[in-house]
């Protein structure tokens, strides 16, 4: 089985287990403030790492390329309070233009 199929099936199965677990356990189980705090910080840590790696890493090398420029454009658009689709399309257009020019 390819890496693609393993990741699709594995992540989907575990995602459903987590959802069902939450809907099934007694409420006081996970109600600890520390669990809540860590849970709120996990997406921030992982999303930040995903932004960094997907814009500055090429396998195990650090690079500055057209993707980096696209993400820089996305940051500018977010600071200007642009909505999500504009941010994504803005990044794509910036990256595509640089890709085609260079």
């Amino acid at each position: 089985m390819s890496i693609f199929w393993i990741s699709v099936i594995g992540s989907s199965a575990l995602a459903f287990c987590l959802k069902l677990f939450g809907a099934s356990v007694p409420e006081n189980w996970l109600n600890h403030p520390r669990v809540q705090r860590i849970n709120n910080l996990i997406p921030i840590a992982l999303l930040s790492a995903l932004v960094a790696v997907n814009s500055l890493a090429d396998k195990t090398k650090l690079v500055i390329d057209n993707r980096t420029a696209g993400v820089a454009a996305a940051i500018a658009l977010l600071i200007a309070k642009a909505p999500f689709p504009v941010v994504v399309v803005g990044a794509a257009v910036t990256s595509a233009v640089l890709y085609r020019v260079f």
Binding site: S7, G22, T60
Partner: protein
């Protein structure tokens, strides 16, 4: 605003982002079928982007699954929060669990009485499910038709989508501090660790920063 209108506007708007995911899947060399299955089965935006983001960056299946699963832990806590309101049993609990995501939880909890809360959860969850999957398919087919993902900037659309999901969460100093640390740590580890590992390692920062209030 009525709960129906709330649910519909959230469903449609969020559903549209599904096209960005569809394109991201293709840009990371997933097939149209695999991309659509992620939306149908995994059905949690950030986790889905994580799967294609980690694999696209050259990571292993294990790193992709671990990153995606950690991003899905919040759905478990949503389920916990919603259980006393929804009081689901049997098959309904299975269906309800699948649509327990940011949006269905948000609309549910923003309603004033219990009847509207229950409606808000189901309308929004089902609505997002329909539109998200529809637009995933359209995005994937569109990206497939375009050919080379880099020539259309799709490789930059993936980190931009992560950034768009991250940005509203950077509300206080602690959030911004952990974001900066995770950025630096993941980049520092990149030359030394197999792809995917620098990302998942940053989950440790959440434990470190969240241990004390």
């Amino acid at each position: 605003m009525s709960v129906k209108r709330d649910s519909f506007s959230v469903s449609f708007t969020v559903g549209l982002y599904g096209s960005a995911f569809g394109a991201a899947g293709i840009a990371s060399h997933f097939s149209v079928l695999q991309t659509c299955l992620l939306s149908l089965l995994l059905f949690s935006g950030a986790s889905q982007f994580a799967v294609v983001g980690v694999i696209g960056a050259g990571g292993s299946a294990l790193s992709a699954i671990a990153t995606s699963t950690l991003l899905g832990t919040r759905n478990a806590l949503y389920g916990l929060r919603l259980a006393p309101i929804l009081k689901m049993r049997g098959l309904k609990r299975l269906a309800g669990a699948q649509i327990t995501i940011d949006e269905s939880t948000g609309v549910c909890l923003s309603q004033n009485d219990e009847v509207d809360q229950i409606k808000g959860f189901w309308y929004t969850g089902i609505g997002v499910y329909i539109f998200w999957n529809l637009f995933t398919l359209l995005g994937a087919l569109g990206a497939k038709a375009m050919g080379n993902p880099s020539a259309w900037g799709l490789d930059a659309a993936v980190p931009a989508a992560f950034l768009g999901m991250l940005w509203p969460r950077l509300v206080d100093r602690k959030a911004r501090a952990i974001a900066i640390c995770a950025t630096l740590l993941s980049l520092a580890l990149t030359p030394f660790a197999p792809a995917g590992v620098p990302i998942i390692t940053c989950a440790l920062l959440a434990i470190l920063f969240g241990w004390r209030a």
